[in-house]
């Protein structure tokens, strides 16, 4: 049977009279596989061994479909750089720097709480007084739990670290209340924002500082500037005249004087003092929980005005330059503060009755008329909560704003620009701007139903967190104007709002930058500067005739008469 057909090697072997042997074939094949590659000094044999070994130890599924990938990975592993050349090279994980800072923060908070414990044990009676000096920190973890029920909030890891960071802020800085405002994304780093009230002493200090800096300085500086400008202009005019005298022979035509700008900058709108209006709260930011909290400066009305006219992403660097038109005064620090101020004014909402004017404990008679824009309010101890149906009401009558509306002026309390000038105006008659209508915004605790709509889209969307278990459900309000702003309210006594987003307002259809203002007129429009058609010959003649010298007296001899008559004929 085996002799019926012979294979080719057999034939050759038979011819050469050498018997083939399986072992020698194997050795030949193995030698070929073990040939070393000149470039890598690796051999296919070793490679296959490694692949088989890797596949058998790791036992991945469907190897045959991804065999090339496996082969590539085995090679990749071989060419890993060898760090064993030096004995003790340890690459620390990249988290180290961050962890160090976190650790420092944890230590600080832990030591403080220990100290508090000791104090508590020693002086039980003084505990009550101690409470007063201790800052009130809003319970972020608790609120985050509710937010998460509704599908919003921060991840747990972030939330806890942040809560400790808020505690650190309370320990290190002179603040009375601390609340987590939200998170603002930046292109390079993100900002966590804490909203605080200062302690009374610190607030007093800042108000004094503000008054020292602001009141006497501004007026003088401006006056000096103006005087200087005027002097410069005078000099320029003077120089022009002086030059005219030098070249005596060709006398240049007499030029009208260079026009003087009659534009006067509108009076600067004064900044609201610390602890009032837009600067009622003080905001602190940090890039990572554990970093130093940095206090944001107070916002000026002008910054709010410019921020409204521009869009820009935060970068994550507080000293980054802001390039906008109209120009923005300050760095990203100020811009961030302006945006936070706007967001806070527009998206601080709570169920009706959650906050109340005054302390709420005694029923006080409060004049809403007087200073309603800047009234203090406190949580209402008598608040009982609303039903789910009320909170979900599509008219949103049960939700109110507790953020103060920022007027077009960039302040929450209207400042009368004419107040200082009134006496002057009476004397000078009505040359100045007409007295402005006082601006008024919606008062505090206006319902959300009053909010402006965006192209058919209501400013807020309400959603219920659970359809399956209404007894556990809570209501969330999502802002469509400031995407990222949400608020929740349970049917019980809890409510909170938060902002996580880019700090950009939704402006349909699109943002369009402010156009440059029209150029001003250089000269007063009058007959000298108006363009008009050149007079024709007939017009000139008519003018000449109209302006002829009066006819000579009749006593003169006839020659004159004749000449006059000839001329007349010519004209016709």
């Amino acid at each position: 049977m085996s002799k019926t057909f012979m294979l080719e090697p057999d034939l050759i072997a038979a011819g050469e009279n050498v018997m083939p042997e399986l072992n020698s074939d194997l050795v030949l094949a193995k030698n070929f596989l073990k040939q070393q590659s000149a470039a890598t000094a690796d051999s296919l044999y070793d490679h296959l061994v490694d692949i088989v070994q890797k596949i058998l130890t790791q036992k991945p599924p469907d190897v045959v479909d991804n065999f090339e990938q496996y082969s590539w990975e085995v090679k990749h592993e071989k060419f890993r750089p060898n760090f064993d050349l030096l004995n003790d090279v340890y690459l620390s994980p990249p988290q180290l720097a961050l962890v160090r800072r976190m650790d420092e923060m944890f230590r600080l908070v832990a030591s403080k709480s220990e100290k508090m414990d000791e104090m508590g044990e020693e002086e039980q009676e003084l505990d009550l007084e101690e409470e007063d000096t201790k800052p009130r920190i809003a319970d972020l973890i608790d609120n985050n739990y509710y937010f998460k029920q509704a599908g919003y909030g921060l991840p747990d890891s972030e939330c806890y670290a942040l809560y400790i960071a808020l505690n650190m802020l309370g320990i290190k800085e002179p603040v009375a209340t601390v609340r987590f405002f939200g998170k603002i994304f930046g292109t390079k780093a993100n900002y966590y924002v804490a909203e605080t009230d200062l302690t009374i002493e610190e607030l007093d200090r800042r108000i004094r500082e503000f008054e020292m800096k602001d009141m006497p300085g501004e007026g003088e500086g401006l006056d000096e500037d103006r005087v200087q400008e005027a002097e410069e202009q005078k000099e320029m005019v003077g120089e022009g005249e002086g030059r005219e005298e030098k070249p005596k022979e060709p006398v240049p035509p007499k030029l009208p004087p260079i026009p003087v700008s009659t534009w006067q900058p509108p009076p600067p709108i004064p900044v609201e003092r610390p602890g009032q209006g837009v600067n009622k709260k003080v905001f602190w930011v940090c890039n990572n929980p554990g970093d130093q909290w940095i206090c944001l400066p107070d916002v000026t009305p002008d910054q709010i005005r410019v921020a409204r006219l521009s869009v820009r992403c935060m970068t994550g660097d507080l000293d980054a330059e802001i390039q906008t038109f109209p120009p923005f005064e300050g760095t990203e620090r100020n811009y961030l503060r302006a945006q936070i101020g706007r967001i806070q004014a527009a998206t601080s909402i709570s169920p009706q009755g959650f906050y109340t004017f005054g302390s709420g404990e005694e029923e006080e008679d409060i004049d809403l008329e007087e200073g309603a824009g800047d009234m203090a309010f406190n949580p209402n101890p008598f608040y009982q909560g609303h039903t789910l149906k009320d909170l979900m009401d599509s008219n949103m009558m049960y939700w109110v704003h507790h953020g103060r509306h920022i007027l077009k002026q960039g302040r929450t309390i209207w400042w009368n620009p004419n107040a200082g000038m009134e006496e002057g105006l009476e004397e000078e008659e009505d040359e100045g701007p007409p007295p402005m209508e006082p601006e008024t915004g919606p008062p505090l605790f206006t319902t959300l139903s009053e909010d402006a709509r965006l192209e058919g889209l209501p400013a807020w969307t309400s959603r219920v967190s659970s359809k399956l278990t209404p007894e556990r459900a809570l209501v969330t309000m999502r802002s469509n104007v400031w995407p990222g702003a949400v608020a929740y309210a349970t049917t019980g006594k809890r409510s909170e709002c938060m902002y996580v987003g880019w700090g950009l307002k939704c402006q349909p259809p699109n943002f369009s930058p402010l156009q440059l203002p029209r150029p001003q007129d250089e000269y007063i429009i009058g007959p000298e500067v108006m363009e008009m058609a050149d007079p024709t010959f007939a017009d000139e003649e008519a003018y000449r005739i109209a302006h002829l010298p009066p006819p000579p007296p009749p006593e003169l001899p006839g020659e004159g008469e004749g000449a006059f008559g000839e001329e007349e004929e010519d004209e016709d």
Partner: protein
């Protein structure tokens, strides 16, 4: 995001403060698993939400053989009925970018879209569009411009089909910091060799998609590493609400869009 891994990914999802609530995950998993079985999908992914006034749309994607060509999109408002979205026409993709009206929440609603670029009295200046078609077109636009995956997550097999790589081990730390390591999930628009050869360690089975560092203007993608540098987040400035996360050195990654379906044309002013 893979529907069966939603519980594991819950901690990483963060789109403008949005997280997946437990009820949402439970509802999604139960209804999408049924959908997967009915349609014989190999992979079922939760794609995201599109906000509407009356009720939000939830979108899911099923893939059968090819991870790019054979994608089917479904939408629902109540988690009971999932409607299949047809492949959108080019006309609707254009119109959906023009309209500024919000979604209503009613798929059969017809809206009128005015194309101001056209001259007056042109018959196509004012066109009607059904909300279902608009939804399909919006999703398609977002997928074309903002849906991404990490390099190596999708591989092209020798027979030309694209599959989800079962042996994806994740990007390494330094790789995760580069925009070049993230690729658009769409049929490639650049030349195949420019995608391949701009890389030192090119790989025919991985580098067949466009990488996002080519997008204009540079800076329209925001890459941030969080949680001590272990999770990479990518956000698109053009589509606020889009978010992609990838846990470094693990196969965990997911794409999610939660927003109002409006493209942000202000990007040049933002950066």
């Amino acid at each position: 995001m893979d529907v069966h891994k939603l519980w594991a990914y819950k901690e990483y999802v963060n789109v403008n403060g949005f997280m997946l609530s437990s009820e949402l995950i439970s509802l999604l998993q139960s209804s999408l698993t049924v959908l997967q079985v009915e349609n014989h999908f190999t992979h079922m992914q939760y794609w995201g939400q599109i906000y509407a006034i009356d009720g939000d749309y939830h979108i899911a994607v099923g893939t059968t053989r090819d991870a790019i060509a054979d994608r089917k999109y479904y939408y629902t408002t109540d988690f009971k009925f999932w409607g299949l979205l047809a492949r959108p026409k080019k006309k609707y993709k254009q119109l959906s970018l023009l309209t500024t009206f919000p979604f209503r929440g009613d798929p059969s609603l017809k809206i009128k879209v005015l194309d101001e670029a056209m001259e007056e009295h042109h018959p196509d200046r004012c066109q009607e569009m059904q909300e279902e078609k608009r939804l399909a077109a919006t999703i398609s636009n977002i997928c074309d411009e903002a849906e991404i995956c990490a390099r190596g997550q999708l591989i092209k097999q020798p027979d030309g089909t694209v599959v989800i790589n079962p042996n994806f081990y994740g990007l390494t730390g330094p790789e995760a910091k580069l925009l070049k390591s993230y690729l658009h999930v769409r049929p490639a628009q650049q030349r195949w060799n420019s995608n391949l050869l701009t890389r030192q360690d090119y790989n025919y089975s991985m580098d067949f998609l466009d990488s996002i560092d080519q997008d204009i203007p540079s800076g329209c993608w925001n890459l941030s590493l969080e949680q001590c540098g272990t999770v990479a987040y990518l956000k698109s400035l053009y589509w606020p609400g889009m978010s992609y996360f990838h846990k470094v050195k693990t196969p965990d990654a997911g794409f999610l869009y939660i927003g109002n379906g409006k493209k942000n044309f202000d990007v040049p002013f933002l950066i």
